[in-house]
């Protein structure tokens, strides 16, 4: 997705902020990432609206999906 958006993939680091100043995804690109993940993983942690903590970094995003998947599986 970064390369599609012409954003430097070489800058990728999992602890960087996802949005603007970090990896540089804009809000629409982030929305697209969420839809693509939902198609792949069948969970959307943002659909409930009860989102305690918006993930800032890629690491936090992965943890959010892991928690959500565990909940869906449990």
């Amino acid at each position: 997705m970064l390369s599609e958006a012409h954003k430097p993939v070489s800058d990728f680091a999992s602890d960087k902020a996802l949005l603007e100043n970090g990896l540089g995804l804009d809000s629409l690109e982030f929305a697209v990432l969420v839809v693509r993940l939902e198609l792949r993983l069948h969970v959307d942690p943002f659909s409930s609206g009860a989102l305690e903590e918006f993930p800032r970094s890629f690491d936090e995003l992965v943890m959010l999906y892991e928690r959500q998947s565990a909940r869906a599986a449990g």
Partner: protein, 449 residues
């Protein structure tokens, strides 16, 4: 004598041995068609002056029946032969119609036949023909026309005389009836294919020496894709009529190259309003001066980005519903003025809402269709928890296209020509697009994954 029956009788007298209808299995000349209609009318005379539904799979039977029940002064409700039984029953029950003539026992509703009972009587002046509109949601509505209002957009001229038309639409649809009337009123021949694949269509077109085709752009794209090399060029086409969908430069250009001497017309019409516009200058959209003109049979206006129409060719109303208020009718088709041209953007209901920004699928499709290697494309919205909807596209690639390279070209085209919210974010490569039985690309459907 009512309009269709009378037109047919005149044709039967003036041109009895001219082939009126032809399929791959049978042909009827005008005298035979009218005689079959008279014979059916006399058999079913109990139906005189009643409301009657027709659900006939065989197009020749359907056309004979339309003329027969017109002779009997009926109000005829047309249901497509392919409509599932439960759906036909729902429609007819909603309208209180108890008389249905059909030729497919597995599909047709179990209504009484004319021998047994009369439908509710038709009030004076109510006789005519009612068409179900392809409502995008809910129960389709029946648009009440007369044969006169349906025929109002038909050109009758020396040039049209004896034309040989290919019927690419269902004969129970507005566009199908237009082509049928165009043919009958000019004593031409109507060739009716039994299927819509390229081989069937082209075989019949060649054997029936078709010289005129009315079809949707989607129908043409499929035909061009499915034809053997050289096969299309061999059709001696004089008239190509496009309608039913937005006409783009791609399909106009392809047809111009294939048929340099044919007249290419595109129509803007609806079941409710009839034929509103006919454009022959070979460009998409229509000249903006038509918005000002007051010498046309149909008045056009742009209001809040919608095309509004006032027409004498319009339907009388929806059956069983209050008469339409006012003369002007909102077509719900979005239009845009660019220079001296008005362009269609798509149906209002098709608008994709991306974070509050509207995206018109047709505008995105137009750009993607320019990408080499793209044969067909359908743009639609996919639900997003973050921004409402995002833009998705199903793409049919040309055979042998390198999919990875094509993906890159699509992304590049989006970046070059579309705003970020308009760019397709989910692209699926598919073998074929879902196509309605009116040969229009179905939009409303959402990606399932």
């Amino acid at each position: 004598m009512p309009f269709l029956a009378s037109a047919l009788r005149q044709a039967a007298l003036a041109a009895p041995r001219v082939t009126a209808l032809v399929t791959s299995r049978a042909a009827l000349d005008y005298a035979e068609w009218f005689a079959a209609a008279e014979s059916r009318a006399s058999r079913d005379s109990a139906a005189r002056g009643g409301r009657i539904a027709l659900q006939l799979v065989d197009p020749l039977e359907a056309l004979i029946a339309m003329a027969a029940y017109d002779l009997l002064g009926c109000n005829v409700f047309l249901i497509g032969g392919e409509t599932p039984r439960a759906e036909s029953e729902r429609r007819l029950e909603a309208l209180g119609i108890t008389l249905c003539v059909s030729d497919a026992s597995d599909r047709a509703p179990a209504w009484r036949t004319p021998d047994e009972a009369l439908g509710p009587a038709v009030a004076p002046g109510e006789a005519g023909i009612a068409l179900f509109t392809s409502g995008t949601s809910g129960l389709p509505k029946a648009a009440q026309h007369t044969w006169e209002s349906l025929a109002a957009g038909v050109r009758i001229s020396e040039r049209e005389s004896g034309s040989r038309w290919l019927l690419t639409y269902g004969v129970t649809r507005f566009a199908g009836l237009q082509v049928m009337l165009q043919s009958v009123l000019n004593r031409g021949t109507l060739a009716i294919p039994s299927a819509t694949d390229a081989a069937t269509v082209l075989t019949l077109s060649q054997s029936a020496r078709v010289d005129s085709i009315s079809a949707t752009p989607t129908f043409w794209r499929k035909l061009i894709a499915g034809a053997e090399p050289g096969q299309l060029e061999r059709l001696p086409l004089r008239q190509i009529t496009l309608g039913g969908e937005i006409v783009d430069e791609g399909v106009l250009g392809a047809l111009r190259r294939l048929y340099p001497s044919a007249r290419i017309t595109h129509l803007y019409a609806s079941t409710e309003m009839g034929v509103c516009l006919s454009v022959r200058d070979g460009r998409p959209g229509f000249p903006s001066r038509l918005l000002e003109a007051n010498d046309l049979p149909v008045d056009l206006e742009m209001r809040d980005g919608h095309l509004w129409v006032r027409s004498h060719r319009r339907m009388r109303g929806y059956v069983g519903q209050p008469a339409l208020a006012g003369e002007w009718f909102d077509t719900c088709d979005r239009v845009e003025l660019r220079g001296d041209r008005v362009y269609f953007l798509g149906r209002d209901g098709d608008v994709i809402n991306v974070g509050g920004s509207k995206v018109y699928p047709a505008a995105v499709e137009r750009e993607l269709l320019r990408v080499p290697g793209v044969r067909e494309v359908r743009v639609f919205g996919t639900r997003s928890s973050m921004v409402g909807e995002i833009v998705s596209a199903d793409v049919v690639a040309e055979p042998g296209a390198d999919i990875e390279a094509l993906k890159a070209r699509l992304v590049a085209q989006g970046a070059a020509t579309l705003e970020p919210h308009q760019r397709p974010r989910l692209v699926r490569f598919v073998a074929a697009l879902p196509i309605s039985d009116a040969h229009k690309i179905i939009r409303a459907q959402e990606a399932s994954g």
